[in-house]
Symmetry: C2
Subunit: 341 residues, 2 copies
């Protein structure tokens, strides 16, 4: 790296070398107004020789302090789900020439405002956020400054903002209905600790579908994992070992599905299983799931951000990304005859 670092050329340097004024060079790069083809040539030539690259900072400053970036703040950066979302956002933004600034809160609620603030200082044009703090009211000020705020995967608390969520409730309800249609009535719900909002929505969908099938109290078969130290496996175990074990199980998320599979593998009873969230080897393993497209979640958020940047007005939007039931066998096991009391 023995590089003789040369200073960065400016408009003026290019102008001098090309024998024109700075403004003319500026015109070439803004693209808008017309420049004589031959002077343009001379300028581009000079720019190339000087490795000129217009200073976005200065340009943006002059144009009213606006950048072409959107911030995305997520929780645990290792969670593949969030990265799929990030992928979607980036995909959508790049179509419009925007770039994405990415940061994570490391899943620490108290760091959310800090991280968000750091990004807002970069003068982003919009903020996409997976809310993790208890409360997003600290963003109220920024919102009044005209920065569009979009939350993903769950709504913000104490803040008006556009939101993109999965069809958690209806997706889970569909899964449970497919089980009740096969005669199941005793259906376990297992979820390891997960974010409150999505869990409660999925649980609501589960209860609703059971209600429709005539099961009014499903609490005996619910294992909600409020205690993080209890593994999904052990929850499934407790279900199956109970006096009145379920004939089918639905899980509230990816991790719970894996845990359930692990436990069911050690059992001989045929228990139907439908998971929430698809995963890579689910097809090979024949696991039925409520699938969805996390990338689409991101794309929707990206579009929402761009729309708001274009036009700040209009009512708050709530976008729901569809889920769909993928039948791969594990969920298509009929209830044993006589299993319904």
């Amino acid at each position: 790296m023995e590089i003789p670092i040369q200073p960065r050329a400016t408009l003026h340097d290019v102008a001098r070398l090309a024998g024109v004024s700075a403004k003319t060079v500026s015109r070439v790069y803004s693209g808008s107004s017309r420049v004589l083809p031959e002077t343009r040539e001379r300028i581009l030539d000079a720019a190339k020789r000087l490795r000129f690259r217009p200073n976005t900072l200065a340009r943006n400053l002059r144009q009213g302090g606006k950048t072409a970036t959107v911030a995305f703040v997520m929780g645990d950066i290792r969670n593949p789900f969030y990265f799929q979302v990030a992928a979607g956002i980036e995909q959508e933004l790049s179509k419009s020439g925007f770039t994405m600034l990415l940061a994570s809160t490391g899943d620490a609620p108290e760091s959310e405002p800090v991280v968000v603030d750091a990004l807002l200082n970069q003068l982003v044009r919009a903020l996409v956020l997976i809310p993790i703090a208890a409360d997003q009211s600290y963003l109220e000020g920024e919102r009044h400054l005209g920065t569009p705020i979009i939350t993903v995967d769950r709504p913000a608390n104490d803040l008006i903002a556009d939101t993109v969520v999965l069809a958690n409730r209806s997706g889970m309800a569909e899964a449970v209905r497919s089980l009740t249609a096969l005669g199941h009535r005793k259906i376990g719900f297992v979820s390891n600790p997960s974010e409150m909002y999505t869990l409660s929505e999925r649980l609501a969908g589960y209860r609703q579908a059971l209600m429709e099938a005539g099961v009014s109290d499903s609490t005996p078969w619910e294992r909600l994992g409020n205690d993080p130290s209890i593994s999904p496996e052990s929850q499934v175990r407790s279900l199956l070992d109970s006096i009145d074990p379920p004939t089918a199980i639905v899980t509230g998320n990816n991790r719970a599905t894996t845990g359930a599979m692990r436990e069911l593998r050690t059992r001989s009873e045929p228990v139907a299983l439908i998971g929430f969230d698809d995963f890579e080897l689910a097809e090979m393993l024949g696991i039925s799931v409520v699938a969805h497209d996390p990338v689409e979640l991101g794309r929707a958020a990206g579009r929402l951000a761009l729309e708001r940047i274009e036009n700040h007005d209009g009512p708050t939007k709530l976008v729901e990304i569809p889920t769909w039931l993928v039948k791969r066998g594990s969920g298509e096991i009929a209830a044993p005859v006589g299993s319904v009391d």
Copy 2:
């Protein structure tokens, strides 16, 4: 969203309201020099009332056109491997107050220069790149302008740059040695089309270990998947159906491992299998793999970027991230007696 958007306050607005000069306000926000506690109070108070947020654009411009951002350009944004890398980069950068600008080339080699250029226009302080174009010489100019360039996962072509790669060769060699130690000599190498560099390194490690075990020509057992339309399954099938089938198989990457598993499941012959790249359910499925930490790959790249930003000089660095063999059963199947001719 019926927000009465208020104009953004500037230093001067705050100064006026607090009854001081702009510079004093500036001092409060730069933090460096001392300001009388009571004036500081007044200023912070005024700032809060005006929802003041220092304009990073202007600040950076004034301070020499430098931002606190690093660009990361990756190929296919849906590839979880790259996102793990991104996670590592972000993790490391955020420690030093830098943020990451993220963009993807959508795996289209011809778009790499375009995407890179867009990010460089944002005046990033360093560029981390997963090279995908045939040639990175187009970055020579930027390098001379002092922008550190770090490539990840594979070296750049025709460009001097710091590089972080996996220990592809030694990792694969270790896996193959563990098989030869169990008596295997006929070991298949299967890889679906993957990036040239990593594949050739892993192949080299495979060949080297076989050489050590006295197998000088392994080509009959190599299935390199240069044709994207040929699935790993079919390659494994062709191996097992050959006149002299292998007693063990190593795969060149994640996808090939899954494919191999799929095919081996349909077979009765006990064939040892070791995959390259770990995956979520490998443990549950008992698949031995050459594991590595993609996040660490990113962290190393992030550190390298920060080092170079601090100090541009010094020799080009090549960092190799270790891999390790995880024995879960599938690779610990001894060769059948008499399988060595």
